[in-house]
């Protein structure tokens, strides 16, 4: 009874902030578009009963435009998360290895970008990368190139902005995992003849996989739906699901199709979450306390 009372607030919270929006989204996704406010006829109502349609989901499946947008978004998010992971791992190792005073400073530096606005930071990148920007200015002054390089509105600029924005989300869980690790296990590996590189490869890295999975997901999930950064820094022809959603929602006012697209993205994101969850559970099982046994038990007897 007490247990139920304790669990009630988080359940209510989840119901209100997670379950309810998803149900509403699903409801809109199976509704029919109609002129008016809101621009759809509800799939289910007291007067008319069920009036839903699977047409929007069918459209998504049939029109290659949306599938391509979803696929490309997942790809961009995957590349972003991988780049963040590769950059964050050495940073997290450094933070974990630093002394107490340095560690606080380094973590503060990782979080420092959050103190400035998101859009001004993107504006700064535009200022650096545009044709008349600093980077091109320096390159021309040095004689590396005579014409400004097309740096802005490219995949490179988009990934630069994405990694810049999401890197802290990868550093923090990795640093937390690496800080918690048991150094005596690594000493034992060295003692048994493993060089520093082999210790890293065979002990440090596999034991940090749960943290790496968390870091990957924390970047991958928001990056898959990212709209602003590709819009401001990426190539104009790049179609991502964020832009497709924006277009359906605000330009075409096709809320049901936009909702269906959001549902499809959600469904697509559950796959990597499940995969990494398995990894994480493996990790926590390894760290779990051993099954209770009597002190007098002979080894080899229990199987």
């Amino acid at each position: 009874m007490r247990r139920a009372l304790v669990l009630l607030p988080p359940f209510l919270w989840l119901l209100l902030l997670v379950a309810a929006p998803v149900v509403i989204l699903l409801g809109i996704a199976v509704s029919e578009g109609a002129p008016g406010v809101p621009p759809f006829t509800p799939a289910i109502s007291l007067q008319d009963g069920w009036r839903g349609t699977a047409q929007n989901l069918l459209t998504l499946a049939q029109d290659g435009y949306y599938a391509a947008a979803l696929l490309r978004s997942v790809l961009v998010a995957g590349v972003t998360a991988t780049l963040c992971l590769l950059l964050a791992y050495p940073m997290a190792l450094g933070i974990a290895a630093a002394g107490e005073r340095w560690r606080v400073l380094l973590l503060a530096l990782v979080l420092l970008p959050f103190c400035t606005g998101f859009l001004p930071r993107l504006g700064a990148w535009i200022g650096l990368l545009r044709d008349g920007g600093w980077v091109n200015g320096v390159l021309i002054a040095l004689g590396v190139t005579t014409e400004p390089l097309p740096l802005l509105y490219s995949d490179g600029a988009m990934y630069l902005g994405m990694v810049h924005a999401y890197l802290p989300f990868a550093v923090l869980p990795l640093a937390a995992t690496l800080l918690r690790r048991d150094m005596s296990v690594e000493e034992a590996a060295a003692d048994l003849g493993a060089s520093p590189w082999v210790v890293f490869r065979s002990v440090t890295l596999p034991l940090s996989l749960p943290g790496a999975a968390a870091a990957f997901l924390l970047v991958f999930i928001p990056a898959a739906g990212e709209f602003v950064i590709p819009e401001l820094l990426g190539p104009p022809e790049a179609l991502l699901v964020g832009r497709a959603l924006w277009g359906e929602f605000f330009q075409n006012r096709d809320w049901p199709l936009a909702a269906a697209l959001a549902v499809a993205l959600l469904a697509l994101l559950i796959v990597p979450i499940r995969v990494f969850q398995g990894l994480d559970e493996g990790g926590s099982r390894r760290g779990a306390s051993p099954p209770a046994r009597g002190p007098g038990e002979r080894p080899g007897m229990s199987k």
Binding site: S184, D191, G193, A194, P290, G296, E297, P299, K303
Partner: protein, 346 residues
């Protein structure tokens, strides 16, 4: 003696100016079981970590079989260490844990399988090769840690409080097994412990460390019977310390008001509780004293009496279980043999 297995010469280590080890000299013979006994902060773990290579000495030499290994990183040192926490690889099976060191040495696969199976059989863990460390009991994990180090057949095994994490029932048996394993493998063992009973029971020699210096090194019996200093005597169980004043005729007046006639003259002596006996009537003029029982505790194999001396001091006296013990408050006459007085140098 041939080349010692391990020789430490003038090893010094400071942490922030505070010496953890102070010009320490120590040798370990091949196949010897040495216990490093000391309280916390005595430097015993630092010493082990310097030999293993996890800390470097500020001064002095670490010689393994005559070769200076002081500059080698841990993975190039042919010594092996068993960690207090066991430090098993949580992501690897028992088999892979034990095989880890052999794989690093590039031992062929078939030989690895054979040697790991042998090693696991040695400690009765044959059936558990596929388990993860988290699925083992404390005692089983301790064995895995032990054979993981021993499977490489190191000439010297370092053990950091190997029995410290086990509960009392398991400690004694595991201690005997450790001893048997040491004899079977012929490796030199250096075991760090803060438990004097463990050190005395298992080791060939015991080295007592005190604030970074060796207070005394010797076989367990010698240490117990003839502690060299007050602190060694105090550390190795509850010995009574007798402060004295040497007289011209070779007798020693002890502060408690007795006259000692020891075998060797010294300013202070340790007197073990079990070497004191009760005598009828008055105590002897020499090597005896009158006292009064203050407290009495039954210890199963005997009685431990706390007696009050005329000068207000207290001694501990062990009385046999079969005799009728005196009651608290009774006056008693105590006596001891001259050899029972262990001279203390400091």
């Amino acid at each position: 003696m041939a080349t010692p297995l391990l020789r430490l010469a003038g090893v010094t280590k400071r942490f922030g100016g505070v010496p953890a080890l102070d010009a320490l000299d120590l040798t370990v013979a091949p196949g010897e079981f040495l216990a490093l006994l000391g309280g916390s902060g005595s430097g015993k773990s630092t010493l082990l970590r310097i030999v293993a290579g996890f800390e470097s000495a500020d001064a002095g030499q670490v010689l393994l079989q005559g070769r200076d290994i002081g500059a080698l990183p841990p993975h190039r040192r042919p010594v092996s260490m068993v960690f207090q926490s066991y430090a098993l690889f949580p992501h690897l099976s028992v088999f892979d844990n034990v095989a880890y060191g052999l794989r690093r040495d590039g031992v062929p696969k078939a030989e690895i399988a054979r040697r790991v199976a042998e090693a696991l059989a040695l400690v009765g863990l044959e059936g558990l090769a596929a388990r993860r460390p988290a699925q083992l009991s404390g005692g089983q994990r301790q064995r895995v840690a032990l054979v993981r180090s021993l499977v490489k057949r190191p000439p010297l095994l370092l053990l950091d409080e190997p029995l410290g994490a086990l509960d009392a029932g398991l400690r004694e048996r595991t201690g005997f097994e450790l001893r048997a394993l040491q004899r079977a493998t012929g490796a030199g063992f250096v075991m760090v412990t803060h438990d004097q009973a463990e050190a005395l029971a298992l080791a060939d020699r015991v080295a007592v460390l005190e604030t970074g210096r060796l207070a005394q090194v010797g076989p367990p019996r010698e240490l117990y019977e003839r502690p060299a200093t007050r602190s060694v005597a105090a550390f190795l169980g509850a010995a009574n310390i007798l402060e004295g004043r040497v007289r011209a005729d070779g007798a020693v007046e002890c502060g408690a008001g007795c006259l000692l006639r020891p075998a060797h003259v010294a300013p202070a002596f340790a007197l073990r509780p079990e070497r004191i006996r009760l005598v009828a009537g008055d105590p002897p003029a020499e090597n005896g004293i009158a006292a009064r029982v203050r407290d009495l505790a039954f210890r199963g194999d005997g009685w431990m009496a706390v007696v009050a001396l005329p000068n207000g001091g207290e001694w501990r006296v062990t009385l046999p279980a079969d005799a009728a013990p005196p009651a608290p408050g009774d006056p008693v006459a105590l006596a001891w043999a001259p050899e029972a007085l262990a001279p203390l140098s400091a």
